[in-house]
Symmetry: C2
Amino acid sequence: MSNELSSKGQAAKDAARVLAKLDSKTKNRALETIADTILARQDVILAANEQDISAGRANGLSEALLDRLLLTPARLESMANDVRAIANLPDPIGQQFDSRRLPNGLDLSKRRIPVGVIGVIYESRPNVTIDISTLCLKSGNAAVLRGGREAIHSNTALAQTVQAGLEAAGLPTGCVQLIESTDRALVKDMLRANGLIDMIIPRGGAALHKFAIENASVPVITGGLGICHIYVDKVVNMEKIVPIVVNSKVQRPSVCNALDTLLVHKDVAKAVLPPVADALAEHKVEIRAEPRALEILNGHAVVTTAGAEDFDTEFMALIMAVKVVDSLDEAIDHIYAHSTTHTDAILTEDYSAAQKFIDEVNSSAVMVNASTRFNDGGQFGLGAEVAISTQPLHARGPMGLTELTTYKWVVLGRGQIRG
Amino acid sequence: MSNELSSKGQAAKDAARVLAKLDSKTKNRALETIADTILARQDVILAANEQDISAGRANGLSEALLDRLLLTPARLESMANDVRAIANLPDPIGQQFDSRRLPNGLDLSKRRIPVGVIGVIYESRPNVTIDISTLCLKSGNAAVLRGGREAIHSNTALAQTVQAGLEAAGLPTGCVQLIESTDRALVKDMLRANGLIDMIIPRGGAALHKFAIENASVPVITGGLGICHIYVDKVVNMEKIVPIVVNSKVQRPSVCNALDTLLVHKDVAKAVLPPVADALAEHKVEIRAEPRALEILNGHAVVTTAGAEDFDTEFMALIMAVKVVDSLDEAIDHIYAHSTTHTDAILTEDYSAAQKFIDEVNSSAVMVNASTRFNDGGQFGLGAEVAISTQPLHARGPMGLTELTTYKWVVLGRGQIRG
């Protein structure tokens, strides 16, 4: 393990013990101080960001990536506001639940506590540095951050800003530790830093998640990859279908909860597919259709023949695969075979079909007559989102502050011994 | 991956999809059938067990290990009763919680679902085969089991019994799959069987847990190792202290929630240690004391000088380490440095000391004035125990049926799209 990781990991671990004891008031005051510090240090942050932008331009980063990297006074203002919003969220730490009195008189409760040290490995967006630092702080966790190489100056300036805020609020700067080395080996070291890091959240593409799963000995929250389905059942309300499919596909095509595959029951395929395709064509969506769908859509829009791999692709773009199915069961089987268990929806007016779909599809979010775009911490009212988990352990779907906690059992006795 | 693991893993995965849809009635009927089948096949099971016992004797297994391995008609009867007790527990699957209506009218709930396929790697006790199979069945999970080599005949007969019961109840035998190869490489393959196994529970000693952490790419629940502390604070009630310390240490010394280290405040060490040592001496407990404690205990019992490693040892035997501390803070620091975060208790009549201990010690169970032996699924009223987790993710402390589940978000819309 590198010196940087072991010393920063230890600083985070030490800070985590302090953080776990803080009351909400102290944490919220620190968050407000961090928000103030972001604005106060605006010039330093923007100058650092300018270095990343210049380097990015020199290295030929796309305009889209440069835009993700770019910080502006308005974006910093919005960051500071987000930090204040986190201060205003309820603090999950200390909540007691599942309380009961046992027959022998022991009083038993579960009490929420922080996880400890959370390692986050992320890519180009520098706002993640602030997001994660402050969500961890609010939930009493220390954070070890490893951002993308192309945002290193911005991330360093932002992490220093957070640390300045922490210091001003009288908290240890160990609460937020940014790994500054851009050596790729550090990522693997973080994934195996048992004893220093308690949980790893990779925030990035499929390759990063796969690397984390294969290499981590620290528990990892995986997710992010969303091959999302909408199945249009045979009893349909056309007024709902077109808006929901269009919204799911085009409202923000580059994110994980955007629609990838549309499945349509054969009885309604001729009625449903042409208007859906026409509406999507207005948004320049390319449709990749298997033969039965292709036949119906012939001449209607930008339609090409779907290859087998199109049903296993997260497009992240204005592309959608389409398939006609014979039954609800076939739709569920298709989803079972191809879904990444992120978000899958049924559009139907048939009560039993809706119940069956909800019962049998076990994705992180299963929806009836709603846009897949709703699977999101903000939309679900969590107030914040750390990640979207598609794995079964610990948390599933959007993770907010509560999902950054664990619990201990508190046992209040009066001298009881076991018989 | 071996053929055995890939074919049995796939059978389990297919069965898991069927299991996830079953109602409680069907699962309970299958459990009752399994209980009946255990009794009906008693002769076959006992004959298989006899093979393991003979082999064990030939291989020089200790009497204690042979006893753990041994099945008798009475033990099978008790196993069958345990299975019926599991049938009578509430079914966690399908429970909805955190339900709310969002401002846009979406109805949102979390719904409990099974994890999927649970891999369990365990050591000599053949009853684990029945325990885990039936707890998994009740919670809608398929199980892939890998028991100890020395119990292979017993485990095979028990797994076949479960499968016979499943078949008689009309359920796929894939629900419970026993790996029969005793090749050690299979353990590593199981730990990396992503896509077939969703969660691994190692049930065994520290070496097994360490191996699992280092080698698994499938999420692992770790725990089991318990270096447990009792701290006797300066305001004491001697009538509670002796019974609790004795019970924690001697009631069943070979298990993870047994007491390992006794910390005593310096102000009461002279009053507390001698009667505690005398009471423990009656149970033939060896005390390993650091110098200050040793001085007080001189002549009182079987006392030896504690080495540094004694404070990092899970004794699993009638041995206890003892240390005198200057303050509650020193006790908490000691626990922070040496605890495996399994079970730690304070004995005190001082309200503020009790609260501080509970606030600052973040072990899976933190107790006041009670025996450490209570950290147990049965004692906590969970009805059953799959494992005791000491890691922060997913579940902590005793894990019952609910801890074998995850959840999905169910979103009931009326045509909503995201703005």
